[in-house]
Symmetry: C2
Subunit: 256 residues, 2 copies
């Protein structure tokens, strides 16, 4: 067998923002190498390429990366070098075109898919900030007062605002199997993963919201049956949530 | 004269996230209509299209919008309807292709430009959160304790991390006139506007950082001389900063 063409560069051991990229591959059955989780010294490669704060090039003639995740495609760059691209939604945009994760026969469909991806990732960021409202350089325990306030606002105002939006998108598409058009897109992958993580982080809150957004959660359950996703969820490749974007702190969940 | 083809739907009276879209038009000299700032009852149109929280369609067969800004292009959608697209980076992606705001002769260049746009908009969000760390539903005055902590972290850790990144990108491109390749891209527009807003919001902090990132600030000053941008900055169309993303609160700036 030939080497997988696509390489994911991300932190090891957590789903995190790398999970959106993993799901795009898994749902389409396209092989990829998760560098930090599958290679000895893989994380050193990730750090060298994506976390070098002095170099003016990440690798070959690729411009510097700001942070993981990144996608590396050997041979796809200038003069036969690797192409390295970063920013989660940007990687998903690239893959949506390469792996046909876009609606068929709709030339503007890619912008709407990208719009949904970006909106789901905005929610992902707000969830991250429930345990890190002051900043990533401090421990959760050192910003807990602000976290309690932030989590309350996110639970009461932001989560229902986003879920209401995704449910309206679904209903606008005929209450169907996918969020956009008639096949899997990166929008399904991204919204699904955020909904999944939310249920880990805020189980009580989401139990209530599940009753409020019935169509959306029906879609969420249905999407688990997609062939590639079903196989992935039953595999050891699917990493458990722990100390990444989605964390479970009982005090940040709904209290009643 | 024919009607401008492009319509910006955004809140009136502030630069905000709409400013990135305005700059893409202004720097290329392409006409556009800023609906809320130029039409009587224009804001009602923005609210109807972009802020309707119950409809499953924003306009015609366009899926719902989550929030402004949006770009509306009459006639560009299905069956001769308007096309309405949202999410700032998504609008800039669309315009980068339509207005040639991408590097020439580099098929993967659009992903790198998009990556820089997304990174600059991430910084834009972090700046917003310096005065709204708990959430947009509370006044600044009601989240001031957390704001003081958040602003300190953003000034000391986040701003230098992002500026260092943009400076390395510039140096990687030969320390030149543009961030990517040899002509204006949406990356220049976006990074420039964030740097400009930062100097309004954190004048003392940025006076120090200006000395640290000489190449970046030289590029920032040079970009003001781009024909379309220069004309815009001298016009009344350029809205002053006030109570949008970039706000000036002396207590959030560097104190010494």
């Amino acid at each position: 067998m030939s080497q997988p063409k696509y390489e994911l560069l991300y932190h090891p051991g957590i789903p995190g923002r790398g999970e959106f990229i993993r799901l795009a591959f898994e749902v389409t059955g396209i092989p990829y190498t998760d560098i930090a989780n599958s290679q000895k010294d893989g994380y050193a490669t990730v750090q060298k390429t994506c976390m070098n704060t002095t170099s003016t090039a990440s690798e070959g003639s690729n411009p510097p990366m700001f942070a993981p995740p990144a996608l590396r495609i050997p041979g796809a760059g200038k003069n036969g070098e690797a192409l390295v691209i970063a920013q989660t939604s940007n990687i998903l945009l690239y893959l949506s075109e390469k792996l046909s994760l876009l609606p068929e026969g709709d030339e503007n469909g890619k912008y709407f898919v990208n719009q949904l991806v970006l909106t789901a990732l905005d929610l992902n960021n707000e969830i991250h900030d429930t345990h890190h409202p002051i900043g990533p350089s401090l421990y959760y325990e050192d910003q807990k007062d602000a976290s309690l306030l932030k989590a309350k606002d996110v639970r009461e105002n932001r989560i229902p605002k986003f879920l209401s939006y995704f449910e309206r998108v679904l209903k606008g598409n005929g209450d169907g199997k996918y969020l956009v058009g008639e096949r899997v897109t990166t929008a399904d992958v991204t919204v699904w993963q955020v909904l999944d993580g939310l249920q880990f982080a805020f189980p009580k809150e989401m139990a209530v919201r599940r009753k409020e957004f019935e169509a959306l959660f029906k879609w969420y359950e249905g999407f688990k049956e997609e062939k590639g996703l079903k196989a992935y969820l039953g595999s050891e490749r699917r990493l458990p949530y722990s100390q990444g974007v989605f964390r479970y702190y009982p005090e940040l969940d709904r209290q009643e």
